[in-house]
């Protein structure tokens, strides 16, 4: 059960038309090495689930600019004008979701829930086409789980079993996405031996992680 793999092994698993979750918040905590791998492999027609579409030259923005994305499910595209341009010209489908709803939808998929009821979006266009449910006199939207084929995660310290610790604000969507995909690949800034991260400080337990790239491996690709 060796989880540490080379970028070549990641490369082989990428396919056109896949649904990917990619961690990070305005590229903070985004696995840039894995994004570069996606670009090198040049897989097309991707559906990307992410907090935002980064910048034209950084993070998920690079995939948009390179026209590899068919659809993006995200909360914010304002920092990447290319996303807006492709959307307006009908080249890219953009589904805008409130940030708190998006992360709960991902969590629901990872946690085996059929959905969650949120007050967010009531009275706005976000409610269009969704089931409304009243609980104790208050109206909520039923929001459904969102899952992916692969989640691409960035970890600050990862042990060889796949336990992940995130430094400061790099955490964001990463631990939640790590629960909600068939395959979870973590790009590690630093790889350590199992047991080196204190067990009560681990954020993503190893059971969620399938593969680890990075550490010394980065740059060898």
């Amino acid at each position: 059960m060796e989880k540490v793999i080379s970028m070549e092994r990641v490369y082989e698993q990428l396919k056109d038309g896949m649904t990917l979750m990619i961690g990070g918040f305005l590229t903070n905590g985004t696995p840039e090495g894995l994004i570069d791998c996606l670009i090198k492999r040049n897989v097309k027609d991707l559906t990307i689930i992410c907090n935002d579409t980064g910048f034209p030259d950084r993070g998920i923005g690079k995939l948009i600019v390179n026209k590899q994305v068919k659809k993006v499910i995200t909360s914010h595209i304002g920092t990447n004008p290319e996303t807006g341009r492709q959307m307006n010209e009908g080249e890219l489908e953009v589904l805008l979701v409130p940030q708190g709803t998006l992360v709960e939808q991902i969590r629901a998929a990872g946690a085996g829930l059929g959905g969650i009821l949120t007050p967010t979006g009531i009275g706005t266009i976000v409610e269009e086409g969704k089931q409304k449910i009243e609980v104790k006199g208050k109206t909520y939207l039923l929001e459904l789980p969102i899952k992916a084929d692969i989640a691409l995660i960035k970890g600050s310290i990862v042990d060889t079993k796949g336990n992940v610790w995130y430094n400061k604000s790099t955490r964001n969507f990463n631990p939640i996405m790590a629960t909600a995909a068939d395959i979870v690949i973590v790009e590690a800034e630093k790889i350590v031996e199992a047991g080196e991260i204190e067990g009560s400080n681990v954020v993503t337990p190893s059971v969620f992680v399938n593969y680890i790239v990075g550490g010394e491996v980065i740059g060898r690709f």
Partner: protein, 216 residues
């Protein structure tokens, strides 16, 4: 212009109390942090996943792993803590944020807010705004009173809403307005302008407080 922004930010800062958990939106709301009284401790929440945000990082303070929700490198105060986005929005939507301060494209007399898209023109997305406005105990809109001479405080928002009926207070360079059941209550007015000036710059009806004060 800069003077307007300072006046607004300093007035919003007066709404904050000791111990409040506060989320400041990108842009002008961020400036509020500069005017918080030193006598109180306010805990700044950043929706990308932490509380205890400090000032923007100087060149030599930059930590590559620490940015605010605007992607700007900031500092962290002693006792700052970091968490994932699900926890961040549990804090926000769960009513654990006392005050959120946001900008607006439009607000109306029912407390409706529009600040996330102009159809066909600019669609940045809602980010965390819809959750913040629904979840925070108090929602303060901080913005310039008009946009290129056009009213932003309307009878009814006509841009797509961020949330319905969630705004509590509007602070502009012209005055302070509270959203009440009866409509917008003008409570404070900037020095050297008249009530008529405010009314003329506002499409919504304004109830003039009998205790109208000068905005400080």
């Amino acid at each position: 212009m800069e003077d307007f922004r300072q006046r607004i930010a300093s007035r919003v800062a007066k709404e904050l109390k000791d111990g409040d958990v506060v989320n400041l939106g990108i842009g002008m709301p961020t400036m509020v942090a500069n005017y918080i009284s030193e006598d109180i401790e306010v805990i700044l929440q950043s929706e990308n996943g932490f509380i205890g945000m400090g000032p923007i990082a100087k060149e030599d303070e930059i930590d590559k792993d620490l940015v605010n929700a605007g992607g700007v490198h900031v500092t962290a105060r002693k006792g700052a803590t970091f968490f994932d986005s699900a926890t961040s929005f549990a804090i926000i939507r769960g009513g654990h944020v006392d005050i959120t301060v946001l900008g607006a494209l439009q607000v109306d007399e029912k407390g409706n807010l529009a600040n996330w898209m102009i159809p066909g023109k600019r669609v940045p997305g809602m980010g965390g705004a819809m959750d913040l406005v629904v979840g925070a105990k108090k929602v303060i809109v901080s913005m310039e009173h008009t946009a290129k001479g056009k009213a932003k405080i309307l009878k009814n928002c006509n841009l797509p809403l961020t949330a319905k009926g969630q705004v509590n207070l509007i602070v502009t360079e012209m005055g302070v307005m509270e959203v009440t059941d009866k409509g917008l209550l003008l409570k404070e007015i900037a020095p050297n302008i008249s009530v008529e000036d405010v009314v003329n710059a506002t499409e919504a009806s304004l109830i003039i407080s009998p205790n109208l004060k000068v905005m400080e």
